[in-house]
Symmetry: C2
Subunit: 162 residues, 2 copies
Amino acid sequence: MDATRWLDEREDRAWRGYRRMRRLLDLELARELTQDAGLSEADYDVLSDLSETPQGRLRLRELADRMLWSRSRLSHHLTRMQQRGLVTRTECADDARGSVVVLTPAGRQAIESAAPGHVAAVRRHLIDLLTPTEIDALGALTHRVVDQLGGRASHPRHDPEV
Amino acid sequence: MDATRWLDEREDRAWRGYRRMRRLLDLELARELTQDAGLSEADYDVLSDLSETPQGRLRLRELADRMLWSRSRLSHHLTRMQQRGLVTRTECADDARGSVVVLTPAGRQAIESAAPGHVAAVRRHLIDLLTPTEIDALGALTHRVVDQLGGRASHPRHDPEV
DNA sequence: GGCAAATCGATGACGTGTCAACGAACCGCT
DNA sequence: AGCGGTTCGTTGACACGTCATCGATTTGCC
C-alpha cells in the first residue's frame, strides 16, 4: 500500500523554492560578508549574539544553546576566533567547570563595522523583495514550524526518549 | 552618517524565524533521513536528481549545476557514494573530458525506499503546518528571491563581471 | 557528608566542503 | 593543422563540523 502523499504542484514549488533560496542566499551572504568584513557567517553570528548582551560576555553553554550549536562546535570555533583576537575565554565565577566567552575590543569593532553592510545585504537580497504581507507571513510561518520542532531544545538532543 | 536601515520588529522576526527554521528543519530532516534510510541529505539530493532523469544518468557538470554544487564537491561526494555502490561513473561519449554519473540498482533502490519517509517528514515538519495561502506565498517569495540572485548561474561563479 | 548521575567544556579522530592547481580535452580562429 | 583560451573533472591541502570520549565539577538524593 503505497499511500504516500506526494507533494502536489504548489507544495513542490514551495519546497524546491525554499531549498534553492536557502542555498543561494547563503552563498551570497557569506560571499559578501567575507569580502567586505573578513568574517564567516559563523563568526558573524557569534559576535552578533555576544554583542547583544550588555557585557559582551556569555557563558559558553548559553551561547551554544542560543545558536543551536553543539558545545563542541562552539568550542572549536572559539579556539579559532580566539587566535584571531576576536574573543577571549575567562573562567566562570559561579561554576568552576564553565568558561565565559568575552568580546574583545577588536571583536566589537569587527561586528560593528560589519553589521551595516550585512543588514544591507539581507535587505537587498531578501527583506526588501517582500511585501509587508509576505514579511508577516514569513514570520508567522517560520515561528510555527520552529515551535513545532521544539525550538527551545538545545541541538545535540540525546533524545530524552518518549 | 550612519544611514543604516536596521530591521524593524516585523522584519527581524521574519529574518530570525527563517534562520532558526532553517537550522532546526535541517537537523531534523537529516536526523530522520540517516536514521530511517542511512542516507545524508547530500546523498538523497544526488540520488533524487539522478532518479528524475529517464535514464538515471547525468553528466557530472549538469548534476553539479542543478544542485548548485561545485564540481569539486560533487566529485568528492561521488567518490564516496561510488564506494558504497550507490552510483558509478562512466565515460562520456561525446566529450572525452567528461564523465557521466549513473544510478546503480542499489542506488535506485535506496532512493525509492527513502523517498516516502522523507516526503512524510517534509510534510510533518513543514508543508502540513502551512495554510494553502502560505504555501503559495512561500512559493512566490522564494522564487522571487532566487530569480533576483540569478538562480540559473552555477555556484562557483567566477564573477562574469559587470 | 558522601556517592552516583548529570553537566560543562576540551580534545582527537574522522567525514565533509572549499579552494587552488592541474592535466586533458574541446573550441574558435587563422 | 596549429595555437591560445576555455571547460571538464580530479586531486591534495586545509578549514570546518560531528561524534565519542575524557577529566573536572556540580547536583540530587540518601
